[in-house]
Each structure stands twice: as structure tokens, then as C-alpha cells.
Subunit: 122 residues, 4 copies
Amino acid sequence: MTVDENPYADLLGIKVLELEVGMARVSAVAKPEHTNHLGYAHGGFLYSVADCAFELASNSHGVDAVGLTTSMEFHRSSKVGATIVAIARETHLGKTIATYHIEVTSDNKRIASFTGTVYRKN
Amino acid sequence: MTVDENPYADLLGIKVLELEVGMARVSAVAKPEHTNHLGYAHGGFLYSVADCAFELASNSHGVDAVGLTTSMEFHRSSKVGATIVAIARETHLGKTIATYHIEVTSDNKRIASFTGTVYRKN
Amino acid sequence: MTVDENPYADLLGIKVLELEVGMARVSAVAKPEHTNHLGYAHGGFLYSVADCAFELASNSHGVDAVGLTTSMEFHRSSKVGATIVAIARETHLGKTIATYHIEVTSDNKRIASFTGTVYRKN
Amino acid sequence: MTVDENPYADLLGIKVLELEVGMARVSAVAKPEHTNHLGYAHGGFLYSVADCAFELASNSHGVDAVGLTTSMEFHRSSKVGATIVAIARETHLGKTIATYHIEVTSDNKRIASFTGTVYRKN
């Protein structure tokens, strides 16, 4: 995934650390422009980081995968300067439907959990 | 919510259209930098718009509310130039927990649905 | 939906009150055998009532619909003797994917919310 | 958890296989009365099995834990006679909020995934 391929990931400074079939790891640094009114990394920013890992892992099979549903649980808040890492792993791969679980960590602590299901365009 | 108060909303160009106790309506235009590798508005961008409406509605009672869990269903894709509108309404208001349902539309069509639950710091 | 057609709904005493295309309303009475260790209606029981409304509404178009993902928020607890009513309404109907929102009430108070997405076998 | 303590688990034939602090494993056999109109184990039945594991694991710390939100993804259908096993593991334990992830399997295949968040009454 380069800047040209995913403009939104580029806007947020999301970098791909690792990409395999059914698995992806990305990271981004929480900057001042990614914060909410309380000064913490915004939920939408954390979701976007997790969503990019989900997108990469679910599209890693050479078949277009479109997000259908996601759920996210927020465990801890993150401050400006924190590096956010999201790892997506495949929970289930069916012919037309697949599900991924994404762990979001910072400083090796779990800060959020994300589950996403895609429709695969065969 | 002004630029100074919510930097992340400002980064994405999210505008507050309406804000009442327990309800908020916001909008943003999908620009080229908000797209995914297929050229559609990124799921993380749509989530962020919905999340801002959720944040405003849940914090409208004068009590700090922190997002605990969210779920989102994606119904239709949106192209560059589309105006995305998110309306958050209160489903349940308890002393420490509250839930909001957010409709995300574009051109008066429902493009996504979002449900969020907060912890209220009394 | 009769006893012969849906044994699980029958086991839990779930009755169909109303069924239209894209909409269903069902109810069940919380009995002692539907409670948890605290004496309240079990979350699995409340989910099952909502799930039956979801199942009926999503299968009301004459096309087999299979549940893919659901999310549920629990707002209030219910005691033995309470009548639980669940109303499912169609949020989005696509060719292969559809989403339903289910309100769960008791004594006209919202006690839970449920969102479900199905795969439609065309 | 015995029959006297959790009537709903008893109604569905759910057995506790293992219970530790922050972890629980339960199982149940899908019987004819647990099926839907297609003859497969009902989604509400599978949810109830997962929910019991969630309930046990989240209440294993000696503090009352009440379910706030859950999400569930259904991967594969199960026939009558199948043994359904659900394992709940703690994803995050906070002072007032905790999250659990539950794997649901049958014949060592993942058939569903469940995530649940509780409010802990300290």
C-alpha cells in the first residue's frame, strides 16, 4: 500500500509494517491533529488505523473484499506522541464472507479491539 | 465544536449542522484524500463522521462521556464529492451508561448505520 | 411461524404478533427458566427474542436470509413475569445483503437494542 | 454454576467444562428443539451458549458484572447432534469495564465469534 494507492491512509500517516496472506500489521503516530476535545487520540483515528489493517488483510487473497460490518471496543485512551499499532488476523475465510479480528496496541498495551466482516466479490 | 476544540474533526472537514441535548447532526464532503484504493470514501472516514455526531450527542448533557463500544454497518459506497451527513439520536440515557444510534446518509440515501455506547463520568 | 416451523422459538414461548414484508413483531414472557443467577431475564433469552424478530423480517421477502453478524446493547434488566416485545424493521435491503434494527421493549420501555445483517441467497 | 444457580443455562443443557479467573469454557449439544426453520442450530441458541461462557468469565473475579454490549459473527451452521463449545477469554480488565472474546467451535472448527463488554459493580 503506497500513498498513491490509499490516500486516506496517507492522510493519517498510516504505515504498513507487515503484510501476508490473511494478515496485516500497520502503525501510525497520534499527532495533535488526531486528537479530540479532551486531548486524546480520537476514536475515529484509532478506528481508521484498525480499519486499514482490516482492509489490507481482507484484500490479501487477490479477491476484492468490501467491509460489511465492524465492531470496536475501546479499552484505554492514548496521548499525543503515542505510536498506535494494529494487527489484523483472519478468524474465518469463507467463499463470499470472511471475518478478521484486529488488536490495537500502544506501548505493548491493548488499547482497543476491532472485529470486521467482509463480502468477497468472487 | 470549533476547530480549536476538536482537531480531528477539523482535519477531516467535519462541520456541526445541529446540536441539541441528546442529538447532533454533522456533515463532511468526501474529498480525494478521504478515499481508499478503489476510489470510494474510506470506511474509516465514514466512521469518523458518524463518530463525531456520536461524540457531540453523548457529551451534550454537560457530563463527560467516553466511548466504550461501537458497531457499524456499511450499506452503500460513496464517491468523491459526496456530502456525508450523520445524525445521532439518543436510544437510552442511564446514569453511567448511554447508547446512541447514528444514521449516515448521502443524497438522502442511507449509506451506513452506527451504534455507540458511552460511559458517563458522573 | 408455527411450532413445527421453528422449534427454538417454541421452546422459549416466542409468539409472532405481526409480520409484514421487511417487518416483524414478536413477544415472549420471561419465566423462571429464562433467568440468570441474579434472577433477571438472561441476556441469551432477550437476544433470542430479538433474533426471532430479525429472522422473520429478513426472511419475509421470499428469499432465504442467513444471519451474518449481530450487535446488541442491553439497557435495562427485566424481572420474571415481564412481557418482552421485539420489533424488527429493515434499515437497508440490498440484493445480497440486508440490515435490520430491532427494538426490544417491556412495559413500553426500551430494554435493549439489536442490529443484524444477513446474507440473502439469491 | 449449577442448575439452581442459572436456570436458563439449565434449560438449554449448557454445561460448565472449565472455569478460572477471567476464563470459562462451556458446551451444549444442539437438540431438535434448538433448531430454526431450516433445521440448523438457531442463532439464539449459539449466542446463548457463548453468552454463558461470557457471563461466567466476567463474573469470575468476585465482582458482579453486567453485560452492556455484545457483537457476534456467524461463520458456519451446525446440525442437530453437534456439540457446541464456547471458550471465553479476557481481552481487557478495567476497574469498571471489562471485555471478553469468545470462540465458538464445533468439531474443532470455528463456527462463530462473540465479543462482550461488561460493567463491573464495584
